[in-house]
Amino acid sequence: MKTALAVTAPGLNATIQDLGRPGYQSVGVTVGGALDPIMLRLANWLAGNGAGEGALEMRFSGPAFEVRGGSAHLALAGEGADIEMLPPYEGRHPAYRSFALQAGQRFRVVLKGGGPCYLAVEGGFEISAVLGSVSTLAACGFGGFHGRALLMGDVLPLRRSAPANGSFALRAPNFAQPEFIRVILGPQQGHFTADGLNTFLGESFTISHLSDRMGLRLEGPLVRHAKSFDLISDGNPHGAIQVPGSGKPIILMADRGTTGGYPKIATVISADLAPLGRLPPGEKLRFKAVTHEEAVAALRAQDALLASLKAAIAPYRDAKEELARALMEENIISGVADASA
């Protein structure tokens, strides 16, 4: 029987995401994809997958599942996240260490950090790509699992019914919260007053609770326009910071519209998009303008960090764990017997 994860509690807006859907922006389809592509990659590598396999993106409140059919090999990546086994099973599985579960086992994802966390399964979820990606674009109802967040009762089929890999582990990486979010000014910094630019670069802003996968809305001092705030619409790159008439900046994130007509004062550098995606509502941030060369150096440093994290992922064996797993497997047998009685 096919292995599947049955949703016994949906959590909050848990969606399947991969590295996005490039290539269709000219027809209005945004790139989308994981808010934190670094964590997505880590989860996938730990599960024995390629970097860009679709995984569950979860934030603030995690879902709960029951394994059905066969066995599964799972990996969780994200700050402050772990897996709690649900009765009659016991124990926890930390993030950054993959683990196997058997049919009948139930667990929930516990999220304590503010950033998105990713649950990857070895071989990936059996979900058809839409326009080359399994990323969920909820606003349009396509991609991922039926184009939407998980609901109670959903059954997510896995491509692989019996895992081929043993566990992998990585020492929990410590992604320090950045002191600044680095930006390159433009394309429309000329539409702001000198005071507006000083406010933008000198003051701190707070991420509003109205933020979502489309954009981070910022509360704080108002960023004043010098000219009209209604422009001829142009393209919205990931990380563009638009300032509508209210003077409150919005950072355009994964599910942004492809085009927009508000002046964009600056654009977050690509190396800071993942750290930015990790910042939760209520968090404060400050911007710092950098040059293109500095941005590219930061991107290369991030590439090197990712390569070193990938290289540090190693098979995991632990005598206690092995014993615990053996005991758990016995539990399953009695659990299955109970269920069919």
Binding site: S26, V27, A139, I232, D234, G235, P237, V268, I269, V296
Partner: protein
């Protein structure tokens, strides 16, 4: 980067959009000549991609050129793009012309009475006026497959509704300012709804998911409600692609 003198704008103008994109502006205004340059550059870069360019996104007067900064750099792209633009033909853009059936029946056109009132026309005159123009697809945006089609005849130009709707049904034909659009998904929207097309404008299963492309020409053909029902959900294709249908 050189700042063009305000009195004599020099096109193209390159604007940085972070470390992975450049906005290439090709004119000051929204018009078909500027748009044709944008679309032409977009098509050229699709046929012969520049090293390091990953995707281009055409908008009214600019092309967003997205690149991998590990593989190229803005100065190299600017030089290459400047040369390509200088060598671009000025001839009209080869483009497709679509005839889109639209039913303007009141049950599918919640704003037609109000628009008629605001423009001092009868409802029949609104239909006649709106469907007599040949529209041009400047760009796609807002929703997948959603084209900004201009230009709405002067007599029908209205600002957006003060009270946007939370849900406009997919297929709705709507107008605001100089533009007409077809809502490709059920979505919130603030434009004036004049009718609905039975055709599907965006199909994720199709090799070319969007019916419209920037640079296409479109005209609208009024159809009665029975025909709307009969055509419902038909994917726009050769059947909606007429070449000079006598209208």
């Amino acid at each position: 980067m050189l700042e063009p003198a305000a009195s004599a704008p020099i096109w193209p103008r390159f604007l940085p959009c972070g470390d992975t994109a450049l906005s290439v502006e090709l004119g000051e205004e929204v018009n078909r000549a500027v748009s044709a340059k944008v679309v032409r550059l977009h098509r050229l870069l699709r046929q012969q991609p520049l090293d390091g360019v990953v995707e281009t996104l055409p908008t009214f007067r600019s092309l967003l050129v997205q690149f991998d900064p590990r593989r190229t750099e803005p100065a190299i792209l600017q030089d290459a793009l400047t040369a390509i633009i200088a060598g671009m033909a000025d001839a009209p853009l080869p483009s497709r012309r679509w005839t889109i059936p639209v039913c303007y029946a009141p049950e599918l056109a919640p704003d037609i009475a109000e628009v008629a009132g605001l423009c001092g026309m009868s409802q029949a005159q609104v239909v006649e006026c709106q469907s007599s123009a040949v529209y041009y697809v400047y760009m796609l945006g807002f929703l997948p497959g959603y084209g900004y089609m201009g230009d709405v005849p002067e007599a029908l130009r209205l600002p957006r509704r003060r009270d946007p709707r939370t849900r406009v049904p997919a297929g709705s034909l709507a107008i605001a300012t100089a533009f007409a659009c077809i809502y490709t998904f059920d979505s919130p929207g603030g434009w004036h709804i004049l009718g609905r097309t039975p055709l599907t404008f965006f199909d994720v299963g199709a090799p070319e998911p969007a019916l419209l492309s920037p640079g296409d020409e479109v005209r609208f053909e009024p159809i009665p409600l029975e025909q709307f029902e009969a055509l419902r959900g038909v994917r726009g294709g050769p059947q909606s692609r007429h070449n000079g249908t006598g209208r």
